[in-house]
């Protein structure tokens, strides 16, 4: 049923094809593991890199993103049973953000599905899922293989990213619509470009052969020199993704395959991903449980918070009033948003406090030169995303 050509388990951490380039640019030697690879957390400072995402162009090494190739006569039926969204609506050369659940309707993971042909798909996800994907294949004529190591990938994100690609010789790349896939020549090599990303900004992801990866990195860096291109690490990306309101696995939710405590499982409805759940497309794993949950009504909900003050409310507990007696939730991601100039967070909040406009109170602990203070800060439930510039959707993008 499957062939798995991976070697991530043979050595503690693999290096991506871009490792030598990253090593050369790293000024603070800050590397972190991600899905079996060593990757850059910070090249210089997270703030500097973040501002390049919002004001120029950035390269982010996506190679560790776990990739599965799904082909076969039943590929579509298989995917539609796997994920909550209607994959039948996904046209060739398009990408869809999807989540998949276990039988209880609890989230296992999120990811993107690329439709690369009539019955060829690719699933991109942050963590390995091969056991669940293979178990889900029972009764379907489908072949699933992990291709993570066969494909190198770069995120090219930021307002000048389209201009960088054009300067690198990608004719008509500006015609790519959000979530569209195109095929281009970049420095004599064929590459696949999707208009996707994790920043909520204008941006692309470039998919290539690992052997050609270094030359393509160099070509993009050269093409972007006059447009402020720089390499960024995961910390900068994390600021951008919180502004965009995107969820991070193991931060905003824990995969239902990994939880030990039943109460820590999360459904897509609770995570504000109800728009991804299509109850009318036919059966999918978790459908019956999610239908029951929907009829019962949400007990808690992931929301955006706008918090008073400028101190990020990392891991803060939330209360219904400022007495701090009745706990109603907690914060999973929090930052001071440099672009919005707001103190923002993603939080799981119990009913009925999750309604837009509700006021909740965050218990923030501050270290003032190692002297700790506790502060109850008023916070308001607000719409996500916090930052959604026009340019992320504009086709063709404006020239920057």
């Amino acid at each position: 049923m499957t062939e798995t050509l991976t070697s991530h388990f043979k050595q503690p951490l693999l290096q991506t094809p871009f490792h030598q380039r990253a090593r050369a640019l790293s000024q603070v030697d800050s590397f972190i593991p991600w899905a079996g690879y060593t990757t850059v957390d910070v090249f210089t400072t997270a703030e500097q890199e973040y501002f390049a995402i919002r004001n120029a162009a950035t390269l982010y090494d996506l190679t560790p993103m776990v990739k599965y190739r799904v082909v076969g006569r039943d590929a579509l039926a298989y995917l539609n049973r796997l994920v909550t969204r209607d994959v039948a609506k996904l046209k060739p050369d398009r990408v869809a953000y999807c989540v998949w659940c276990n039988d209880e309707g609890h989230l296992i993971d999120d990811g993107t599905i690329f439709r690369l042909g009539d019955s060829e798909y690719r699933i991109c996800t942050a963590e390995r899922q091969i056991d669940w994907l293979l178990d889900s294949a029972l009764g379907f004529n489908v072949q699933i293989s992990e291709v993570t190591e066969q494909i190198a990938a770069l995120g090219l994100q930021g307002p000048t990213s389209c201009a960088v690609l054009k300067a690198a010789g990608l004719t008509d790349v500006e015609k790519l619509k959000p979530f569209e896939i195109g095929y281009f020549t970049l420095h004599k090599y064929r590459v696949t470009v999707s208009r996707t990303g994790f920043t909520g900004d204008l941006g692309y992801e470039v998919w290539m052969e690992p052997e050609q990866a270094v030359e393509i990195w160099d070509a993009l860096m050269a093409a972007g020199r006059s447009r402020g291109i720089r390499a960024v690490g995961s910390q900068a990306l994390n600021i951008a993704r919180i502004e965009a309101g995107f969820l991070a696995p193991n931060v905003d939710f824990v995969s239902a395959e990994h939880t030990i405590r039943l109460a820590t499982n999360r459904s897509p409805l609770e995570l504000g991903l109800g728009w991804l759940v299509d109850f009318n497309k036919g059966h999918f794993t978790g459908r019956r449980a999610l239908l029951t949950e929907q009829q019962r009504g949400a007990r808690r909900q992931l929301v955006g918070l706008d918090i008073a003050g400028n101190k990020p409310a990392h891991n803060a507990l939330l209360y219904g009033d400022n007495s701090g007696k009745r706990e109603i939730g907690s914060i999973s991601s929090a930052i001071w948003s440099p672009t919005c100039k707001r103190n923002i967070a993603l939080a799981m909040v119990n009913a009925p406090h999750f309604k837009i406009g509700s006021t909740v109170w965050a218990e923030i602990y501050l270290s003032r030169e190692l002297v700790w203070e506790r502060r109850m800060s008023r916070a308001q439930v607000v719409e996500r995303p916090f930052f959604a510039p026009q340019r992320r959707r504009a086709t063709p993008p404006a020239e920057f």
Partner: protein, 528 residues
Amino acid sequence: MPNHGAAPAQYDCVVIGAGHNGLICAASLARKGRSVLVLEAAAQVGGAASTREFAPGFKVSAGAHLLHLMPANLLRDLKLESHGLDWAAQRLPTTALLPDAAVLDLSPGAANQAGLSAADASAYAAYGARMRRFAAALAPVFSRIPPRLRSAAWSDRLALLRIGWQIRKLGRREMRELLRIGGMNVYDLLEESFDSAALKGALGFDAVLGANFGPRSPGTVLTLLYRLAAESAAGDLGLSQPKGGMGALCNAVAKAAVAAGAIIRTTAPVAKILVEADRACGVLLESGERIMAPNVISSADPKTTFLTLLGAAHLDTGFARRVNHIRCRGLAAKLHIALNRAPPFRGVSAAALRGRLLIAPSLEYIEHAYNHAKYGEFSASPVMEISVPSINDPSLAPAGQHVLSAIVQYAPYALKESWEKGRQRFLDSALDTVERFAPGLRSCIVAAEVVTPADLEQQFRSSGGHWHHGDLAFDQILMLRPVPGAAQYRTPVQGLFLCGAGCHPGGGVMGVAGRNAAQQVLTAGLSS
């Protein structure tokens, strides 16, 4: 009566499979006024509980050959005797065949226990009494829908309490003993109870009959208690032999079902269970005909029902995975021999020859036979349960001639060398084994065949050719049978029910699954 009109036929209930469970379920539903259609793939009813002519003039029960688990009240409720059920013999004895023409009569309190020491004879009486007490305490579990754990329903809580109370009622000493032996293997239990190898072998046999176990396998005391409790729940009728073989029993149930208004169609194999808006709504036959019903009740094994007839696409991944992991690889084969005279068993009295004969002369013998099966082989010295049904029922063979029917263990479903290659050798070793206890048998043989689990799978469309549609083991009984999420004859798909041996309380020709399933359909089913 095929439906040639534009609109497909419509019933309250469609039952897939006319084995005894399917028929009992259909009869029970029809008696409550439901319109019921039973669809059977084969040309006759009965499934594995049918009678088959395997050589001209020689007939034999295709699967189980002795009835001992079907509850008396079930037989009575369905008025099977008025629908043609007659007994060739009842309360048959069990006799263990031993080397050197010795035998051991295992009937409770049998006078002829020659060869047993006085200590063993009294230990056997005490053992028998204790096991019967335990069996009686556990028996109520069998007649009911198994309760769910963590359920808010009062019926479930009450059922759990009732089981607890039954066990508590045994008293402190006996309860402690039940809990002590409940998780043991039967080898250890019998070793601590008896000296006689013959007695231990014969008693251990019942713990592994039809199971994927040897006497030293964990949980074999449980399988033994399970069998005894099922017999107790049935009313301790003893071993019976329906006149005309097991098929005659099913014919009587079929008549009872038809008399109650059910319609039975044979040669009507079901290809698919139809689902609309996440509800079962009927079936599609292999002929292409569609039959609509808001309740589809399958007596097929759970794997076939869920993964073939329904399709994993209608199930959640976790549930489909559990179904796929049901252990249902059969290890029991049938041996059928047509004989031109009564088999010449040495030392076996005429009375004993009417009953059940065991070839399991010691626990080690059984364990050795099982060892081979663990590695995909069969033993040259298999264990057997033998019946010569034509002694009690001459209609099964031409005048003066006889049929021998034996359950032979262990015959692994997936034989390493393939059954195509191994069949003849397996038949030879089975015949040689019988010959050892009945010298001259081979010269009386008119015809002989073995029916392997692979054959059973093909003949009766049951995954793995398992007699019980899945091992009866600690993780596959009660609310875990067939899998969590389908334990009360219901399934994740509304309107689809199970009623076969894969459900609680399992296989053997018992019929309780069919009756309990009907009760669940009446409670939770939809009306058309």
